[in-house]
């Protein structure tokens, strides 16, 4: 009797509570981000006669908005995400076109923003999520080892079309994210190794042609040149990276202490609230603190991949994989740049870097993963 009554056969509308581990890590990283932004921007803002907290407060507003976005996206079922994916993709294309039109704002030689008064929308960040959802939708029907060449072509078109606009902005970093994410999703979708090798070869050929045809901007080549000549001090890109490495090195094992980073606080390191925020972390909190942050990212990625593994359908599985790959690539490229392993590309660090569009895009991503988690298939125990 009792054994029969223990089996509940009623359909379960809400199978799970939110993934508190995922949200906990996100919250921890966001809080650290606010602290580091205050630490690096505070002294300079104070010196300029502005409020010490002003930049941090702006980021805090983004974090608040992000929390709301996260909750809303979590409550949206993964089925709805699946249905909404084509519309999201279409809307993203419209935004990408808009940014290249006179509506777009030109800053630092690139046209990447749409000014919305309160904050600037950066459609390429929105596009990262759009591409992941669209890819997940397209790859969901693929069976293990049965990827058709036609579908591969379609995938190429799906990713290639927005890439054109992003290339025109230009935003090389986002294109690289597309490439990496696509590769990871194709792999999980069951693409054969031969096809993947073929894709890599094609990508290399395309890069070669781009360099041959002078399609890359001067600064993009300069960054590569700087990377291959790390001791050439006259290059500005090297200055940034060398300063970053000096700052990180001076952090030592335990760091100089929060708010004590002489190199970052004294503004030797440029763009330290955005691209080089990890430099401040490593200088002030040392090897221990930096490793802890990387560990948090590893846990985040692990958690998302876990969600992918137990998602109830292929769409959820692929979307979560894409999001994990996106986080992983951002973290690797951004920190790799700060420690001097990789050339300078303007990829921000998820949840830590200052910036509204990027933070919201990352919040949406976590929300989608959470939504997939909450509607997962029951995990068989024993």
């Amino acid at each position: 009797m009792s054994s029969v009554s223990a089996i509940d056969l009623r359909p379960q509308t809400r199978r799970s509570r939110p993934d508190l581990v995922l949200i906990g890590i996100t919250a921890a990283l966001s809080a650290l981000g606010l602290l580091m932004i205050l630490s690096t921007s505070g002294p300079r803002l104070e010196a300029a006669g502005l409020g010490r907290n002003s930049q941090m407060v702006r980021q805090a507003i983004y974090v608040g908005l992000g929390a709301g976005v996260l909750i809303v996206t979590s409550l949206v079922s993964d089925r709805v995400w699946k249905l909404a994916a084509p519309y999201y993709y279409a809307g993203m294309i419209v935004l990408l076109l808009a940014v290249l039109s006179p509506i777009g704002a030109l800053r630092q030689g690139a046209q990447r923003w749409i000014s919305l008064g309160l904050f600037d929308l950066q459609p390429s960040e929105v596009a990262k999520v759009g591409v992941i959802l669209a890819l997940a939708l397209m790859l969901a029907p693929v069976e293990e080892g049965r990827m058709k060449w036609l579908r591969l072509l379609k995938v190429g078109a799906l990713v290639g079309f927005p890439s054109i606009f992003i290339f025109l902005q230009p935003d090389l970093g986002t294109m690289l994210v597309f490439g990496f994410v696509t590769f990871a999703m194709l792999f999980v979708a069951g693409t054969t190794v031969r096809q993947l090798v073929m894709l890599i070869v094609l990508a290399l050929i395309a890069l070669g042609i781009a360099v041959e045809l002078d399609l890359l901007r001067g600064y993009q080549l300069e960054r590569l040149e700087g990377f291959f000549n790390p001791n050439e001090q006259t290059l500005q890109v090297n200055y940034n990276q060398n300063q970053s490495q000096i700052a990180i090195g001076s952090g030592g094992m335990f760091g100089q202490g929060l708010f004590e980073g002489s190199q970052t606080n004294l503004a030797f390191v440029p763009a330290q609230t955005t691209d080089f925020i990890f430099t401040a972390v490593a200088e002030q909190l040392g090897f221990v603190g930096g490793t802890l942050v990387i560990g948090l990212y590893a846990a985040l990625i692990w958690r998302i991949l876990m969600v992918a593994a137990i998602a109830r359908d292929r769409f959820g599985q692929l979307a979560a994989t894409g999001i994990a790959a996106m986080f992983g690539f951002h973290v690797f490229v951004n920190i790799g740049m700060a420690v001097g392993l990789l050339p300078v590309t303007g990829l921000p660090l998820p949840f830590l870097s200052f910036g509204g569009s990027f933070y919201l895009a990352m919040a949406v991503s976590v929300g989608i993963v959470n939504s997939i988690w909450m509607t997962r298939s029951p995990v068989p125990r024993n």
Binding site: G190, I248, G252, G286, A298, I301, T321, A324, A325, L341
Partner: protein
């Protein structure tokens, strides 16, 4: 699930990437941490140098300042500390404060470039400085800085000795510790003692941020002021000499020598080689190199008048008859008798004086035109004494002929030149001032090398001849000397053979009067001169100014103050000297004209010489006419007599 291994693979790949990051951080922060720490520390400091006050220059008593430093204030702008949007406002405020057009200041901003630190105004008043400091919020990035400013209270007096300072030249930049923004000694004592005068700069080490904003002072080393130079110059004498030279030039101009250009004089102590006074007029005021007030036109005028050279030691002049005293001493030391013309040999032999000679006013040789003495009809019977007193050219030509005939038999060919060189001619005397002239003592070797070069400065035909030596004996031809060399040589002849390396600086002391450096009297060399020779020379140099036929007798008339007649004037028996008139043939548009440079070189008191005076009036006419009167006035002053107004002496020995 089938694709579980694929998801796991993605996880492993991403973990590997993050693992690489951790390894890299281990390398940067733990293994290689020392290097990073060093670089980071060096970036956080900024070192600013503080200019030390330059040492003073004093007269021989150490009482009167010849060059000094006063502290003035200046406004310095540091563009690193000015927010860009506030620059225009700052320029307007500075313009209003300093009365400088805004456009000028703006141009300065542009010229200096962004991030530069530069002065916008030197020598601001204290009230201006206080105003800036009290209203500093209106002057962002502005600092008030003390800056040493060089002053020369004497004006033109002793300007050539003191010298001046200025921006370093290429030669200065090679020295240790000289910065292109420094001011360094460029002339005179300012230059030759620059290293001791300039002191050691101090240093402030600031901690700064990346934009150079100063956060605090880490370390401060005070600058060490430069040492003060005590010269050997007697400023009373110096002023008197300069005044006399200017009057002598006026006198020469009034006597018809309207081409008179400048005058120079040296007074040296024959007992230790110290320069008591040294003047070159017209002079300049060294302040023009410090205050920046000189206009271009004024500068060009001064350049044209060549006032910046110290002709007393840089001017190369033919010495004329003033060189005869050198030949006189040589003849006496080596018992060289003059060659007497055939027709007078008998009557000269009757005198039984080996130095006897008969002058009929011209010297005849078989294959040259007759050489004429300056005095028509000649001087009659001439001995060694009267040859100097009356400045008999034919006599010294004959001495030169005697040297020429005895060359390589009784003595080397360069007997006269070697003697002149041993007295300091033809080379720098080694005075502690820059840019000294060397003069020139010509000989066969010199002549041949110039002839071989085809320089056109010497005859292209024929060789070095006795005629060339005859020219040297009368201070003409290619022989040139500086007034300083002349004074050093006369000092050696009168002090018994000590050739001094003259000095203008005796000691350098610090602010507590501790001696940093001493420049003791220095003997260049000792030469052998018999006491008889010195006594004879003294007697005959006195004869020049007292004897009936003395070329400077008229100039020295009434040497004693009041109505004391010359026969009873004891100080007159203590002075002596030699006139000289150097002919310089000039080719001008109107044809070839001869202009004369007037010399007088003498000493006093003859019984125990303390002063050697050399006076040159360039293109001033005859030595007896203008140079001797100027020297008389100076010697009167030195001997404590009442100096007379300048009046012309005899027009002698052209």
């Amino acid at each position: 699930m089938k694709p579980a291994w694929r998801i796991a693979t993605v996880g492993v790949a991403l973990s590997a990437l993050l693992g690489i990051l951790v390894l890299r951080m281990w390398f940067l922060q733990v293994t290689d941490v020392e290097a990073s720490l060093d670089v980071a520390a060096s970036q956080r400091i900024s070192i600013v140098s503080i200019e030390p006050p330059r040492g003073d220059i004093f007269d021989r008593d150490g009482t009167e300042i010849m060059a000094g430093t006063v502290a003035t204030l200046r406004i310095v702008v540091d563009r690193k500390l000015i927010p860009l949007e506030r620059e225009e406002g700052l320029i307007q405020n500075l313009s209003a404060l300093l009365g400088i057009p805004a456009a000028e200041i703006r141009q300065e901003f542009v010229d200096r470039g962004s991030g530069a630190r530069f002065p916008v105004s030197d020598g601001i008043g204290e009230s201006t400085a206080v105003f800036v400091l009290e209203n500093i919020e209106r002057f962002p990035g502005v600092a008030i800085e003390p800056v040493p400013f060089r002053v020369y209270p004497l004006g033109e007096t002793a300007a050539h000795i003191i010298g001046y300072i200025g921006a370093p030249g290429p030669d200065d930049l090679g020295r240790v510790g000289i910065d292109p923004n420094d001011r360094v000694g460029r002339f005179g004592v300012e230059r030759s003692y620059d290293g001791l005068l300039r002191g050691t700069p101090g240093q402030i080490t600031y901690s700064v941020n990346a934009r150079g904003e100063i956060l605090g002072v880490l370390e401060e080393t005070a600058p060490r002021p430069g040492g003060s130079v005590v010269t050997t110059i007697d400023l009373d004498v110096q002023r008197f000499v300069e005044d006399t030279l200017l009057k002598a030039m006026a006198l020469a101009a009034a006597s018809g020598e309207d081409q008179v250009k400048r005058a120079a004089a040296v007074i040296i102590d024959p007992r230790d080689g110290s320069i008591i006074a040294m003047a070159s007029v017209p002079a300049f005021n060294p302040i023009i190199f410090s205050d920046g007030q000189l206009t271009e036109a004024e500068w060009l005028t001064l350049r044209q008048e060549e006032v910046f050279n110290n002709y007393a030691m840089q001017g190369n002049y033919p010495p004329g008859s003033s060189f005869k005293a050198i030949v006189y001493a040589l003849a006496l030391e080596n018992q060289i008798s003059p060659i007497v013309e055939e027709e007078y040999r008998d009557i000269v032999d009757q005198t039984e004086d080996p130095f006897a000679f008969f002058s009929d006013g011209e010297l005849l040789f078989t294959n040259t035109p007759p050489l004429n003495d300056w005095k028509d009809g000649g001087h009659g019977f001439v001995g060694l004494s009267s040859s100097l007193i009356e400045s008999v050219n034919t006599y010294y030509w004959s001495i030169a002929l005697a040297i020429w005939q005895g060359r390589d038999i009784a003595w080397p060919e360069n007997l006269l030149q070697d003697w002149a060189r041993s007295l300091g001619f033809g080379a720098r005397t080694g005075i502690d001032l820059p840019f000294e002239g060397t003069g020139r003592v010509p000989d066969r070797e010199w002549f041949q090398s110039l002839q071989a070069e085809g320089s056109g400065l010497v005859r292209s035909e024929g060789g070095w001849s006795g005629g060339d030596l005859m020219n040297i004996a009368t201070g003409q031809g290619a022989l040139v000397v500086t007034p300083l060399q002349m004074a050093v040589a006369y000092a050696a002849l009168l002090n018994g053979g000590t050739v001094w390396e003259p000095r203008v600086v005796s000691t350098v002391v610090d602010s507590d009067n501790n001696v940093l450096f001493t420049n003791p009297p220095s003997v260049a060399r000792k030469i052998t001169i018999g006491a008889d020779t010195v006594a004879a020379l003294k007697r005959d140099l006195n004869g020049v100014v007292t004897a009936q036929n003395g070329t400077a007798r008229r100039a020295f008339e009434g040497f004693c103050s009041g109505d004391v007649p010359d026969s009873e004037c004891a100080p007159l028996r203590e002075v002596g000297g030699k006139t000289g008139t150097a002919e310089i043939v000039q080719a001008t548009e109107e044809g070839v004209t001869a202009v004369d440079t007037a010399w007088f070189v003498g000493g006093a008191p003859l019984s125990d010489p303390q002063f050697i005076v050399a006076v040159v009036i360039e293109q001033g006419g005859s030595g007896g006419q203008v140079a001797a009167p100027a020297a008389r006035r100076i010697l009167q002053y030195l001997m404590g007599e009442q100096p007379d107004p300048l009046r012309a002496g005899d027009d002698t020995e052209r």
